[in-house]
Amino acid sequence: MTTTSAAEDSILSVRGLSKEYVTKGSGAFGGRKHRFLAVNDVSFDVPRGRTLAVVGESGSGKSTTARIAAKLIEPTGGTLVFDGQDVTHPDARALARFRGDVQVVFQDPFSSLNPKHTVERIIAAPLQYQGIRAPQGTRALVRDLLDRVGLNPDHSGRYPAQFSGGQAQRIGIARALAVNPKLVVCDEAVSALDVSVQATVINLLRDLQRERGLSYIFIAHDLAVVRQLADRVAVMHQGRIVEQGGRDDIFDAPRHEYTRALLSAVPTINPEWDRARASMIAAEERAS
């Protein structure tokens, strides 16, 4: 297992992270206890301004890892260092600052947006929780953010149900951006979207990273999507990181057996057909 040598240039460094769940038997006098290590000795660095993708199948522990990284759940062991500060056991002030610096975008856009609140209220909510006053006023900021994520700023008075899945996910992204975070944790953020919508959201995430210098932890099961976004990739299997490294190293020269199995299972369009289409497109472009 390798980690980046340039640890000082990481926005987030975690070392030896683990999460154990203990299920207790029924009855007041207990039964046999079952221990389950959802995350087992996981270490990684998120390079500043870049994207670390954590990939794995269901039950691999990737979502638990994401939640620990965002401090939504407490790890059983290990340390987290965010922006040079140890945030493993932060005091109230440090935690509040962390909450402003790290935002999460979830998989299901609708269930993570309160259906009874207007878009403006949803996007402005993190500002309120953080006690931040937008210099140009909340309304202007919300309009700005909506415009930035490709939504009509005049729709800030609408409710989530009036938007499509892709639009709702853009609202979720706008909400994450409202407090100007340094790190955004995307937990399967594009998995529920239709393929054409997915592509535009991926492009949006990429553009935002370039503009604002955002860092991402991108949790996904879809390796093809990960290839579009990631700088570094960590492959998880049964709670452990089996392999991590630069994106092209992982995709082009996977070393671990499991990574190879995962990559070879990804369905691809017949490469001959793809090449034929590429040459057709090229021919059309020459003709026009």
Partner: protein
């Protein structure tokens, strides 16, 4: 060269639902045909009407749904048939596999019983006789130790195994047509590859016709010889898989193909979509 008569033929299928705001058309004038031993892939994004089409073929539209046009199975009209007549066709002549195998199996009964009842609903006979069919059906979908596993409950299987059981159930009467509605969408990628392999092998063995519904273009390119692209209830493009993927004619098909993230091509075609 005369083509053999299609096994399943859908002509001008239109599906409507009444709503308080008037009638809504979810599928509009759709036509296609599938022959023996062939797979038609129906591709579309959410709301394209692809799943409604498969339910209409089975006569299983949700309450209020109305299908017009023609659905011919072996030349026999299915639309307008009575529930009793349709019941004899479901399972016996057309099998169906759904997206989420866990919720598609009844948690209260063993998988053996759930396969057995499918068989006995059509062929009758004793439970003992049906038992042999159950074990054989499980064996065919490569479940090890089928005689013992038949007495297990759905939650005792993994996701991939459950989908194998659904396939065993759909095929235990050897129907000539299998409708697979997003059969691998809920599965992990390694498991998906196994299920696709299994479906291909079973088709090679039985020569059944397959209607494969999915949102995933890469998946459809691996299983279908013919592809039908749908959008908002209408057909966009219909042709051989080779033609659709290498020489797409319609703009929407091209958008879809451009949007597919390529594992072998970072920052490739995705760029074009935002433009």
């Amino acid at each position: 060269m005369t083509a053999p008569a299609p096994l399943l033929e859908v002509k001008n299928l239109t599906i409507t639902f009444p709503t308080p705001g008037g009638t809504v058309t979810v599928v509009d004038d759709l036509s296609f045909a599938i022959r023996d031993n062939a797979t038609l892939g129906v591709v579309g994004e959410s709301g394209s009407g692809k799943s409604m089409t498969s339910l209409a073929v089975m006569g299983l539209l949700p309450p209020g749904g109305r299908a017009t046009g023609s659905v011919l199975l072996d030349g026999e009209e299915l639309l307008g048939r009575s529930e009793r007549e349709l019941r004899r066709i479901r399972g016996e002549r057309v099998g169906m596999v759904f997206q989420d195998p866990l919720s598609s199996l009844n948690p209260y009964y063993t998988v053996g019983l759930q396969i057995e009842e499918a068989y006995r609903a059509h062929r009758g006979g004793s439970r003992r006789a049906a038992r042999a069919v159950v074990v054989e059906a499980l064996e065919r979908v490569r479940i090890t130790d089928p005689a013992r596993r038949a007495d297990h409950y759905p939650h005792q299987f993994s996701g991939g195994m459950r989908q194998r059981i659904m396939i065993a159930m759909a095929l235990c009467l050897e129907p000539r047509v299998l409708i697979a509605d997003e059969p691998t969408t809920a599965l992990d990628v390694t498991v998906q590859a196994q299920i696709l392999d299994l479906l291909r092998d079973l088709q090679a063995q039985t020569g059944m016709a397959m209607l494969f519904i999915t949102h995933d273009l890469a998946v459809v390119s691996q299983v279908a010889q013919e592809v039908l692209v749908m959008r908002n209830g209408s057909m966009v493009e219909h042709g051989s898989a080779e033609q659709i993927f290498s020489r797409p004619r319609e703009a929407y098909t091209r958008v879809l193909l451009d949007a597919v993230p390529r594992i072998d091509d970072p920052f490739g075609d995705l760029r074009r979509v935002s433009a």
